[in-house]
Amino acid sequence: MGIHKEQSTLVIGGGAAGIEAARILGQAGYPVVLVEKSNWLGGVLNQLASSFPRWEDPAQFVEPRVKELEKCAAVKVLLESVVSGCQKTENGYRVQIKNNHGAVEELQAGAVIIATGFDLMDLSGYGEYGHGAFPNVLNSLEFEAVLKEWSAGQKPQKAPVVAFFKCVGSRDRAKGYPYCSKICCMYTAKQAGLVKDLLPDAKSYVFYMDYRASGKEYEEFVRSVIEDKHVRYVRGRPAKVLPEDGRLLIRCEDTLMGVPVEVRADYIVLAAAIRPSQGTAEMAEMFGLHTDPYGFIEPEPFEPVKVQERVFLAGSCGFAVETLGALQQGAAAAAQAMAVLNQAD
């Protein structure tokens, strides 16, 4: 018996879930190799202008976490690198890691944590909304960049009208996915509220079918955006976006009244469905992992993060998840990795 800290754990993906898993393992003294394909840590959090449900700046979270990670002697971070191959061995995986310059490094890992995250659905199938055709029709991550500009002081001269469409690709059996992407209700409320905070004369409309704010403080968060920030929620799925004098005309039915409504907007933000990232698909194939029909990695029955022997998932490669959930899964995966590395027969 005793604690074994010889074998490395491979963490694939340096977003919220990956850095949380690596940090916990590293602080416990377990050797970790964190592989991240971009040249920064923090993943999508770096693109966000604010967060729900407490309007905190994600940078305030990412920076100290990355610093803590860097302090861990046991953690080795490989940026601009990807896992290019793996072979199953007796007690784990032999893994090849390729960096940007083509150099390949080999590693024996006793546990693997997949934290490869999500992508937003490609919206070119929604011609009626004109994403790609009209420059001011953006997906929700593209609009975060606009919000960041406005937050930094580069505000538009005239207060804009911003319309948010929820469930674009989610809960859509015809052109999208049947599932609910789970986090859009909160981040859309966040974006719509932030518009009003940054530009008090701006107008925000949110077109919704219902809002699903199940989570600690989420309901209160969405209600505060409606009641205190006066964002107008219109119940109905927009049918069509038309260009009109350089603006965007939205046609929709207010399903609460049963009347058609029209509104002109300067920006349209599409809360696109969340789907597994390209990296998630690649890792699932490479490690031979179970996936659901949409490509999300499927854990074993009644297992929160265990996918198969010595392989764990964390974050939105398993399903759409908010930052807090990604951190919880990262922590759970770290704990399970420690357990498997110390398995008492």
């Binding site: 009208v161 409309y205 209600r223 409606i226 009641e227 006066h230 107008r232 219109v234 119940r235 046609r251 207010d254 609460l256 009244m257 009347v259 058609p260 409504v261 029209e262 509104v263 002109r264």
Partner: protein, 199 residues
């Protein structure tokens, strides 16, 4: 009737959200302390409404019209004059929105703007009731019914209920007067939103 001018088609003409505003919601907040944006659109008000079966717009829709500031439709709707202020909607509302107060506010607004009630005898009833209060400080059912039936020309309206009500003591031919009539009369000079006693 010309199809393009029928009320049905008018109703389904697209509402221009850009042209709507919060002013009516703001007014209700300032004058009545009602926070319209708290509405969850659940419909518990309409489900409980005692008169919804004769309304053209149910309470939930009325709240919704206030949200988009559709004042014209609100002041011309029939529901304004069939609401009996039974307060069931208020009692049921999970967000504590005083819909009965909203209806009162809208009725006052319609009268102030000279928009006639969709049901003329309702206005007569309201006026006769207020006359009674002005005269004796309370409502005497007997004289209210007599006056109402005479002036509305429906002489035998609900007459079959008279004997039963009389036996139960609901129709007193000698109604008691309120003692401090001057205080009641002063109420009639109160201005909208005015608090405290009127001098």
């Amino acid at each position: 009737m010309n199809a393009t001018t029928s009320p049905v088609n008018q109703y389904f003409k697209a509402l221009q959200l850009d042209e709507t505003d919060h002013s009516l919601s703001q007014e209700l907040l300032q004058n009545c302390g009602i926070e319209i944006e708290r509405c969850l659109e659940c419909g518990k008000c309409s489900g409980g409404c005692s008169n919804a079966h004769i309304f053209d717009f149910t309470p939930r829709k009325i709240v919704q019209m206030i949200k988009v500031g559709d004042e014209e439709r609100l002041l011309h709707m029939d529901a304004l004059w069939c609401c009996v202020a039974c307060q069931l909607c208020v009692d049921r509302c999970p967000s504590g929105i005083d819909i009965a107060r909203i209806m009162d506010y809208l009725r006052e607004r319609a009268v102030a703007r000279g928009i006639p009630a969709t049901r003329p005898t309702v206005e007569l009833f309201h006026n006769l009731m207020l006359d009674q209060v002005h005269k004796i400080g309370r409502v005497s059912e007997l004289y209210l019914i007599l006056n109402y039936n005479l002036k509305s020309g429906q002489y035998l309206n609900n007459a079959e209920l008279g004997p039963q009500m009389f036996i139960k003591g609901k129709l007193n031919p000698f109604p008691a007067r309120v003692k401090k009539m001057d205080k009641v009369r002063r109420l009639f000079h109160k201005k909208p939103g005015q608090k405290g006693e009127v001098k």
